[in-house]
Symmetry: C3
Subunit: 265 residues, 3 copies
């Protein structure tokens, strides 16, 4: 399996495609991640909507251009609404992304995620421990943090992609994005990203947004990772960045200017 660095020309092509229409992203995500997720999508020029009731989730997943399912703060009512949304997305061809937060350490969410895998998400984004656990391996996460490096989850990511026909992104110091045949590596980013809650969750939402209008889901998913990597590096380098508070602000600002940043990279 050859790993290729993802190049910025491909990212530029995907971003150009992304700009053709403002994608409406139906986000069903966890309680902690909602605000950052919405602000990330707005900053980059997508339109988020958080519709959560079973009575509405199916209808809305059909209207939306993409759907995000994040299981961070799962509970039965939300779980049911997510199932409605996924069913509707599959029926109507709305691409959807699974973010399997903390899968593997708690039975309820692990079973739920395994059920969702059968519905074939268009993409899956997780940290190393989550991807290892989802692929049936033995992960060593504690809580929502990964105790594994993304490299260590690469084989699991590839086999998961082959089994589910999903694009799989395993993110960490280096991000790997694979369809089971081709694997892209995205370097960069910044360690401060790990000191701001829900950055991974927000990246999953951006993957959904990038999938909305693409013809190349692998490339679109890798572009989302590169966007985050470039924005994080830029944010950490701004003069106002003094820690995780100011980093997050500069990160949102950088997403707003991402076309120029990728151009000049």
């Amino acid at each position: 399996m050859v790993i290729q660095p993802f190049n910025k020309e491909k990212a530029k092509a995907e971003l150009k495609n992304f700009r053709l229409q403002v994608p409406l992203v139906h986000c069903m995500t966890n309680e902690v991640a909602q605000e950052l997720t919405a602000n990330v999508l707005l900053a980059i020029g997508s339109s988020p909507a958080m519709i959560v009731a079973s009575a509405e989730a199916g209808d809305f997943a059909k209207q939306a251009d993409a759907l995000l399912i994040n299981v961070g703060t799962l509970y039965p009512k939300r779980d049911q609404a997510m199932q409605c949304a996924v069913k509707a997305a599959c029926e109507s061809g709305t691409p959807w992304v699974l973010d399997p937060v903390a899968v593997g350490i708690l039975a309820y969410r692990t079973n739920f995620c395994q059920q969702l895998l059968l519905k074939r998400p268009n993409a899956i984004r997780g940290n190393a421990s989550e991807i290892i656990a989802l692929s049936g391996g033995l992960a060593t996460n504690r809580g929502v943090e990964s105790a594994n490096s993304s490299e260590s989850a690469l084989d699991n990511a590839i086999s998961l992609a082959q089994r589910t026909k999903s694009i799989v992104a395993v993110t960490g110091e280096t991000d790997y994005v694979t369809d089971g045949k081709t694997t892209y590596a995205i370097e960069g980013g910044h360690i401060l990203t790990t000191r701001v809650v829900a950055t991974g969750c927000a990246l999953s939402a951006l993957v959904a947004a990038m999938l909305a209008n693409t013809k190349n889901p692998l490339q679109a998913t890798a572009t989302a990772c590169m966007v985050f990597s470039v924005a994080a590096k830029q944010a950490a380098a701004t003069i106002t960045c003094q820690g995780p508070g100011s980093f997050k602000i500069a990160f949102l600002d950088a997403l707003y200017h991402i076309d120029q940043l990728i151009e000049s990279k």
Copy 2:
């Protein structure tokens, strides 16, 4: 129908009135909007409290100086608690505001908002698509964003105000606030406001806060719009503002200094 520009002398009078007492605002709002809503109210000198259980919502709506009902992430349990709160507010004379997020595109929330209209909210704040849909017209929103200009919803706002006896604020590039007889226009603001989640939701909360002690609900609602417009313009003009992340921070800072900003406007 004559449209008058809202003048700052009226806003200053309302702000003076607002400062007589710290209004306690009972916010029942959506999951994405909670933090910004609370921080906006705190920045300007109001006291927010998010009480959400059916067992408490009625009691608390009676204790509070104003109530906000925002249907952004509606689901049955929250819907029931909101009904308890509205009933108690009506009985005790607590002014209340309806923010009909995404009404018109999903049947469940549309029916819920139509039921709430019968309880006569003191004020309604929405974007053009929402106000058009609420008044029975044909809106063209996608998700939570309006695809209509506020001008295009002006007739709907006026007829909605006449029918419900509510103050109606339709916000956009220009905000219009009407009681069905007099209509104020508020210019200003900044396009970056649309790149930060929940700014409209937070404005509805500020309308509630402004209604707490006013003798002139029309003027109080227009003042809330002017406060947001002035703060947004100020925020965008600060040297630190580089995008939606830093804009939001400068916006909260500007609200904290709003009396001086309106004074010097």
Copy 3:
């Protein structure tokens, strides 16, 4: 009862202890406080996780190093999950903290907090009105704000600590932390803290994090208060601080540098 100023040497010893391991804190907190709570814990170097379902809360409270129970936006399903978590924490020896938001003004949460007291939280953190109400006194809070000074709640804090064997922190302009025998006072902080939502809630989470590995819960709780006090003072003094928006950002940055700040204090 002698009140001692808490000194920075004790805080340094606790912080050194805290750094031995990244504590995993299971946060069951209110809807408004979730993001700030998580970002405060991440900024200082702890690992938050918000697990909320009854099906998972017990299991996770056993895996975690500490548990936070905050009743700000209580409702029956969450209340049940919190009981599962507390039961598991007590069985497994996971230290847990109670934040009794707005206790005393609403019967449902008051009864719930009184039930939780019987399970003996390792620490309780509240404002003056909350501590007075929890100890059975007559508080004068309105909503979630305290209308009492922390001094006025000191006797209640001491008697509450004696009755429950919990560490009790009553926070305000001066913070008092007591085990019923020894009482520490922590000065400092900044008034802007009251203009940012959930700072008190986030402090309770930090108390939980500090309790994770300590041998001296009284000292650990006082350290959490001192950390917040020092970070707030530093934040208000930064050149970028222009109001509550920028204060919050500088506060998170200060927490990231807290070891140096305490060192140089």
